[in-house]
């Protein structure tokens, strides 16, 4: 059955390998550029020495390369491909082309037929997710160092790095594959199953992404009004910034404008900083500290894996009992 699975799905598996390899090549090239530049200008050795002020070198680095390029946000969407091109056709294609009547009348039970295929793809997903996660961590390493020294705030806790490091790629890839497989089993046609996979994946992952930093109640920090924003610890992810009264009650910006603003006619208002400070207003930040990276990764990944396993269970059950 493993030989059969390989013969039947090798094109899909090889295409997947190609996409992963291309991503790796891109990350290695851009990662090496950054590492070698940091080495050349002396940023790496400066950061390693810790005692020295590396602010100028760090700014030079950030000026040269910026933060994480937008392409990586696309890479974070890579798991979706596992759902569209591995999951959705897995059962749907057999039913659509009628070959299920060939496949399921050999001497292998339907349950075993499907289990071997699912395990093969799951193994591919584990490898792909692990490789992507490791290579991207290597890519991000120099940014993590700069952030840890306090010169910027680009690290693995914020998106898109959160989606490309740790266990998250495994969670999203497994979930995408599972929703594709289940949609294919229930709908029995590849194209509609792909559409449902796309919608279902975005419908679950986007809300989950917006809520995943609240799985653990965030820490808050508040301080008197200054011109800049309130500094949070290095590597932390800020959920929201806001204003409170002296008593600690959160208030919107318009409240500040009413309290200390001088209207100029139209919508233009000038707010005096000294007035705000005198009236005791505070700035407050809600954030997750860098130390919560693994707990948050764990909760996010575990919820996707749980949903994925449930969907795969539905796909197996439905195929075994209902499809024909």
């Amino acid at each position: 059955m493993i030989a059969m699975t390989w013969r039947q799905h090798r094109a899909q598996l090889l295409a997947g390998t190609g996409v992963v390899l291309a991503s790796i090549v891109y990350m290695v090239i851009t990662g090496l550029q950054r590492a070698s530049y940091a080495h050349t200008i002396g940023l790496s050795s400066c950061l390693a020495a810790k005692a020295r002020d590396c602010g100028t070198l760090a700014s030079a680095f950030i000026d040269r390369f910026g933060g994480i390029p937008a392409v990586f946000t696309l890479l974070a969407g890579l798991p979706l491909l596992a759902g569209l091109f591995w999951g959705a056709p897995l059962i749907a294609r057999e039913v659509e082309t009628g070959t299920y009547r060939l496949a399921w009348t050999q001497s292998v039970s339907r349950r075993r037929w499907l289990s071997v295929k699912l395990l093969t793809f799951l193994a591919a997903i584990v490898v792909a997710a692990a490789v992507l996660s490791l290579v991207f961590s290597f890519w991000l390493h120099i940014y993590s160092q700069i952030t840890a020294a306090g010169y910027t705030d680009i690290d693995r806790l914020a998106p898109p790095a959160f989606d490309l490091t740790g266990a998250a790629p495994f969670g999203t890839m497994l979930f995408a594959f599972a929703i594709g497989t289940a949609a294919g089993a229930l709908i029995r046609r590849t194209l509609p199953a792909m559409a449902v996979t796309l919608g279902g994946y975005l419908g679950v992952v986007l809300p989950l992404e917006s809520r995943r930093y609240s799985f653990l109640s965030p820490l808050s920090k508040s301080g008197p009004f200054t011109t800049g924003s309130l500094p949070v610890p290095p590597g932390a992810y800020t959920l929201s910034s806001g204003y409170t009264t002296a008593g600690g009650r959160p208030v919107p910006f318009t409240y500040l404008a009413q309290a200390c603003g001088t209207p100029h006619g139209g919508h233009s208002v000038t707010i005096k900083l000294s007035c705000l400070a005198a009236k005791g207003f505070h700035v407050s930040e809600l954030y997750q500290p860098a130390s919560r990276y693994w707990p948050l990764q764990g909760i996010y990944t575990a919820s996707l894996v749980a949903l994925g396993v449930l969907l795969l269970g539905v796909a197996v059950w439905w195929t075994d009992r209902r499809v024909s």
Partner: protein, 307 residues
């Protein structure tokens, strides 16, 4: 599940039914099919032939009733290993080569006979490195049959095997099949909506019509029992009292009847001749309700026939 029937029966169904939404594709289907026969499953389009074959092949769960093949559920891998199935459109993996299809047979079947499958295809000039997606209809059918036979099934199910084949491919297909049957004694069920397709091949007939079993018996028994009569309309009632009438057309001058005889007909006013299989099947198909009662009693007596 067990008992003497296991040795003599391939397929046994009890009040089998399958419903799609509100429509019954198959209803109250009770059959006991003996081993070692080539069984023709005949009926008009939509009579439930494909549904019945899919249930027996383990592809479809019945809505009602029971089915057993060699004494077990068809979905049991032990039963699956003994059943060969070729669906109507002869599905093959389009991107597999013919050689890949034979490899697949070896990967998925414990009793796979690669040598004889290769020998079968070699006789037909089908190149092993050709992709299945580019085979002709006849070649497709041959490859599908070779894969099913390579499994060494004890029971082969063929759904409309020659419906889409040209006459030459049809002959080659039946030849390959019947050679294998002669060599192994395998049981075969083949369905068809056209009688002439396969008539020479069968020795047992199951007639499905209007989602129900109308007839199930060895063909020689059916031919032996059925008669075509023509004679005076005034004596039609006497015949009806003594025999079962399957179909009749009576006008002022003449009565024509197909009967299932319960004994000899001595009255010289009747001209009597044996019914052909064709006439018999058409009669039961066009008068479905007439068939139900005799078919059910025949089903009950089928195991006796294989004593």
């Amino acid at each position: 599940m067990s008992g003497p029937d296991d040795a003599t029966l391939t397929i046994e169904t009890t009040l089998l039914g399958r419903r799609y939404g509100r429509r019954w594709a198959l209803r109250d289907c009770s059959l006991s099919l003996p081993r070692g026969h080539v069984i023709g499953l005949v009926g008009p389009n939509g009579a439930g032939k494909t549904t019945l074959l899919h249930i027996v092949a383990g592809l479809l769960e019945p809505t009602t009733g029971q089915v057993s093949v060699f004494g077990t559920r068809p979905r049991d891998p032990r039963a699956l290993a003994r059943i060969g199935f070729v669906a109507q459109d002869k599905p093959l993996y389009g991107r597999f080569t013919v050689a890949d299809m034979l490899r697949m047979g070896g990967w998925l079947n414990p009793r796979w006979d690669r040598a004889s499958a290769l020998a079968r295809l070699a006789g037909l000039d089908i190149p092993l490195d050709q992709r299945c997606g580019s085979l002709s209809g006849g070649q497709r059918a041959q490859v599908a049959l070779a894969v099913a036979l390579g499994k060494h099934p004890d029971l082969l199910l063929l759904d409309e095997p020659v419906a889409n084949l040209d006459p030459l491919a049809r002959r080659q297909f039946m030849q390959m099949l019947l050679e294998h049957v002669a060599a192994t004694g395998m049981s075969v069920v083949l369905s068809s909506h056209l009688l002439a397709d396969l008539e020479e091949a069968w020795d047992y007939l199951v007639l499905l019509s209007a989602s129900r079993v109308q007839l199930s018996a060895p063909t020689d028994e059916l031919l032996h029992e059925h008669r075509m009569l023509s004679g005076p309309p005034s004596k039609a009632d006497a015949i009806a009292a003594a025999h079962s009438i399957v179909q009749s057309s009576i006008n002022e001058h003449q009565a024509n009847m197909l009967i299932r005889a319960r004994g000899p007909i001595h009255d010289p006013d009747w001209s009597v001749r044996p019914a052909s299989l064709q006439e018999l099947v058409l009669a039961y198909m066009s008068a479905p309700l007439a068939g139900v009662a005799p078919a059910l009693s025949l089903v009950g007596s089928a195991p006796e026939g294989s004593r």
